[in-house]
């Protein structure tokens, strides 16, 4: 099998680090007992491994292809697998039961997101975007809109898209030009061109529900004049069935570096095609001119999901690299051997595999802890606890997105490297993960956008309060580690203490200079994101080592725990040690980054 879900590590992280038991006690999370969660993980792992994963390579070769009539054919097997995904109820895992979901916590959904993305990043984008559409309609839709669209989206009969980008409006959405013209019946007609629309057109579902940012005629300039509209591919009849073909068509699909099976569409609204006359019929969702604000609320969920994609593709690349390293025989061992050995015996291959493993496990730990915080932010009975968890979650989202995706570039690149020359050959399959991962630091806000968010909204705005709160928690873990005077946990403590000190100094620097020397702070924003991401993941790896050590001390002989301690130790020595170096780049590095005159470039 090409992908075996790391159910054991996922379960460990959920129980020992993210506090599944505590989440299960929250009102509204009663269904998420350990036994149920185990059953869900096992069955989902099986579905993802046996049905979705085998379509990864074939989908990459085949691509989604636009047909002359504007329809899009997805690769062989996608349609059937998506039908099974919907029928299996997986789209509805964490959505409300009243619309056909199962109402499970975000923590459980996080595991499902990871597994399906590991199995097939391109395929998983369709449910990921549908999640976004469901969130938007749940959040801002009228009762009628919810009843019309949510059950079909949650059952996987229909899918959703997010239409933000236009050729002139990428990271800067204030420049959106698409128009929405009000009609006598209260609906709108939408005109304009949207680009980079993931699964904007495909053959896997009966209808596609586009969520579109556009301006009404009376809208003010800039970000405060953008509204959000529902534009169905087929206008929905009174009885809930798909009706007339709306005036939204796929003009072309992009030719991309990766995620080739996922159709990235250019959509034309109001090109006078279809069966409804000129202009795509759309319905305002929420209040006029507040579209961007709604988008930003959903954005946290979408950014978190993209962070999970980074962890997912890193896990898949790691599994492939390990399999190859255990199989490929080349050269004698450096210390001498009777003949050539499998390359996993070579120290540098070990280092590469451990780097891949440590980054993946560290990022996974941070992400699941973040998901649990969101559950507590929603369901905890105590308002203070809810608020604390909400600010922790908000601080963590740019880290989960930025750090997990940046590390996925390194991990998938190492995956190619472990394969040597064969890794550069497409048939091997390692290259696909590298190409697929490359989009992750770009879409849903580039790493720089995440870093801006981290500096501005998440650090400067509360004068570093949330960040300092996390540092205080790290210090608590450090003192728990202090009981070990030598060995792996003592090393972990030393490296963690150095990293948390660097983290604190950088937070102080950001807060102190956010107004006085804003260019310097922003020049160091991505290194700050990396430092914070590395340190928080390292902290969670340290917590993992403590939990594993406790199991070992209690007589548990499962080798998983000893492996976890070693991985945490490796993380401490090889990855946490990057934090002090990044501190130097941030605190003193702006000079070199910004000094050149433009014509010196």
């Amino acid at each position: 099998m090409s992908y075996v879900a790391p159910v054991k590590d996922i379960k460990f992280v959920m129980q020992e680090l993210a506090g599944l038991e505590a989440i299960n006690k929250l009102p509204g999370c009663e269904e998420a007992t350990l036994e149920t969660v185990e059953a869900i993980l096992e069955e989902d792992a099986r579905f993802c491994g046996e049905v979705v994963a085998p379509l990864n390579r074939s989908g990459d070769l085949e691509h989604s292809v636009r047909q002359p009539d504007g329809s899009v054919k997805t690769p062989k097997g996608f349609k059937e697998a998506f039908k099974q995904f919907g029928a299996g109820g997986w789209q509805g895992l964490h959505f409300p039961t009243e619309f056909g979901g199962q109402g499970l916590p975000k923590l459980v959904a996080t595991a499902a997101i990871e597994m399906i993305n590991s199995a097939n990043l391109s395929f998983a984008l369709c449910p990921l975007l549908t999640d976004g559409a469901v969130e938007a309609i749940l959040l801002t839709g009228t009762e009628a809109q919810r009843n019309t669209y949510l059950p079909k989206l949650i059952s996987g009969e229909w899918t959703g898209t997010m239409n933000l980008t236009e050729p002139q409006a990428g990271s800067d959405l204030a420049l959106v030009k698409s128009r929405a013209v009000p009609q006598a019946d209260g609906s709108f007609r939408v005109f304009g061109q949207k680009i980079f629309i993931t699964f904007g057109e495909h053959d896997m579902a009966d209808n596609i529900i586009h969520l579109v940012l556009a301006r009404t005629p009376s809208a003010p300039e800039g970000v405060k004049g953008i509204s959000l509209f529902i534009v169905p591919k087929f206008v929905v009849n009174a009885d809930g069935t798909p009706g007339k073909r709306n005036d939204v068509y796929c003009a072309s699909l992009e030719h991309k570096l990766g995620i080739n099976a996922s159709p990235t569409a250019v959509l034309l609204y109001g090109d006078n095609k279809g069966e409804v006359g000129e202009g795509a019929i759309g319905y305002l969702i929420g209040e006029e001119n507040r579209g961007l604000e709604y988008m930003f609320i959903m954005m946290n969920a979408a950014r978190f999901a993209v962070g999970m994609q980074g962890i997912a593709v890193a896990e898949r690349a790691y599994q492939k690299a390990v399999a190859y390293a255990k199989d490929r025989t080349q050269s004698r061992a450096v210390e001498g051997s009777s003949g050539p050995v499998t390359i996993i015996h070579h120290p540098d291959v070990r280092r590469m595999l451990m780097t891949m493993r440590a980054y993946t496990e560290g990022a996974r730990a941070s992400a699941y802890v973040t998901a649990a915080a969101l559950d507590a932010a929603h369901h905890h009975p105590d308002a203070t606890v809810r608020a604390e968890n909400q600010s922790f979650y908000e601080y963590m989202v740019p880290l989960v997105k930025g750090f997990s995706t940046e590390m996925s570039l390194e991990v998938t690149s190492l995956g190619v490297q472990v394969h040597g020359g064969m890794g550069f050959i497409e048939e091997t399959g390692a290259a696909q993960y590298y190409r697929d991962a490359r989009i992750l630091t770009i879409y849903e806000g580039t790493t720089a956008i995440q870093a801006n968010d981290l500096v501005g909204r998440k650090t400067a705005r509360d004068a570093g309060k949330t960040a300092k709160g996390i540092i205080a928690q790290i210090r608590k873990t450090e003192s728990e580690l202090a009981q070990f005077e030598h060995g792996d946990l003592a090393v972990i403590r030393n490296q963690l203490a150095a990293a948390s000190k660097a983290f604190e100094e950088v937070v102080d620097f950001v807060v102190a200079n956010a107004k006085a020397d804003i260019r310097a702070v922003y020049a160091g924003s991505v290194p700050y994101l990396k430092l914070a991401g590395i340190t928080v993941a390292g902290w969670n790896m340290a917590r993992a080592a403590l939990a594993a050590q406790a199991k070992i001390a209690a007589g548990d002989s499962d080798p998983f725990y000893a492996t976890k301690v070693v991985t945490a130790r490796f993380y401490a020595d090889h990855i946490l040690t990057l934090a002090p170096a990044l501190r130097s780049a941030i605190v003193g590095g702006a000079e070199g980054a910004l000094a050149l005159e433009l014509d010196q470039f």
Binding site: A39, W90, G92
Partner: protein
């Protein structure tokens, strides 16, 4: 029509099985366990009979440790209506299991018992046959097709020479072969529903069955490692070796 489906919890088929250091058995600590694949086919077949309107109730039963509950929950998630665990930590051998199942049979009076032809751990291939004998009911083993009509089962069996079709009177015992069906993927809503289905826990003593092992395992060892081959200079030598040493031609 009521169907009883015995299911066994075994080491997952993807796991590379290792022998315990003291040679008393195979290592099961920290090893992924799941439902015996042949039993999964049995559950699937029973649920299909129910979905086709032929069966009215599907009862899954498992004998062994408390953790067998998990395996029963899987059966419930596939579509069984309720489950019975015969809980014991005694090592169960096929005859003991057959006796326990016979006792459950007498309590439940099903029209059909459908179970895997063998379990992938000990490969005994005995329980179904012993159960038939203990109950004095007909058996059809290695089924690749089951048709129920008029109080009888017409079963296609996979035998050495090809396929054999027999008709047996119900109540009867059917054991499944691999080609009977392809089990479905369990859906999320059914996992959630399975939690709420009844799961009864009984002990062998409640059923009046003595499960004390009759056989003693002396030791368990791994198969011998394949030794290195030899190169032969020409075809004549190869033929000679096959004739005289391997004695295969």
């Amino acid at each position: 029509m009521k169907i009883l489906v015995p299911v066994k919890r075994v080491v997952d088929y993807n796991v590379k099985v290792r022998v315990k250091a003291d040679q008393t058995g195979v290592e099961t600590a920290n090893v992924k366990m799941s439902m015996n694949p042949f039993d999964e086919i049995a559950v699937e077949e029973a649920v299909r009979l129910k979905e086709a309107g032929i069966a009215t109730e599907v009862i899954a039963v498992s004998c062994g440790l408390l953790s067998c509950q998990e395996t029963l929950r899987t059966a419930l998630a596939i579509g069984a209506d309720r489950a019975i665990l015969v809980e014991t930590d005694v090592e169960l051998q096929p005859l003991a299991v057959a006796k326990l199942l016979a006792a459950v049979f007498k309590k439940e009076s099903p029209d059909l018992v459908i179970l895997g032809k063998q379990a992938i751990d000990d490969d005994s291939n005995q329980t179904g046959q012993m159960l038939g004998a203990l109950l004095g009911r007909p058996q059809a083993t290695f089924a690749s097709k089951v048709v129920i009509e008029g109080g009888a089962a017409q079963v296609t069996r996979e035998v050495d020479g090809g396929l054999e079709t027999i008709k047996i009177t119900l109540p009867a015992i059917v054991t499944t072969d691999l080609r009977l069906n392809e089990p479905r993927y369990v859906t999320l809503p059914n996992i959630m529903k399975a939690k709420k289905k009844p799961l009864e826990n009984v002990k062998p003593a409640d059923l009046g069955v003595d499960v004390t092992p009759r056989l003693k395992t002396l030791k368990v060892t791994e198969p011998p490692k394949r030794s290195a081959g030899v190169k032969v200079p020409d075809v004549a030598t190869l033929v000679a070796k096959l004739k005289n040493e391997a004695k295969v031609i």
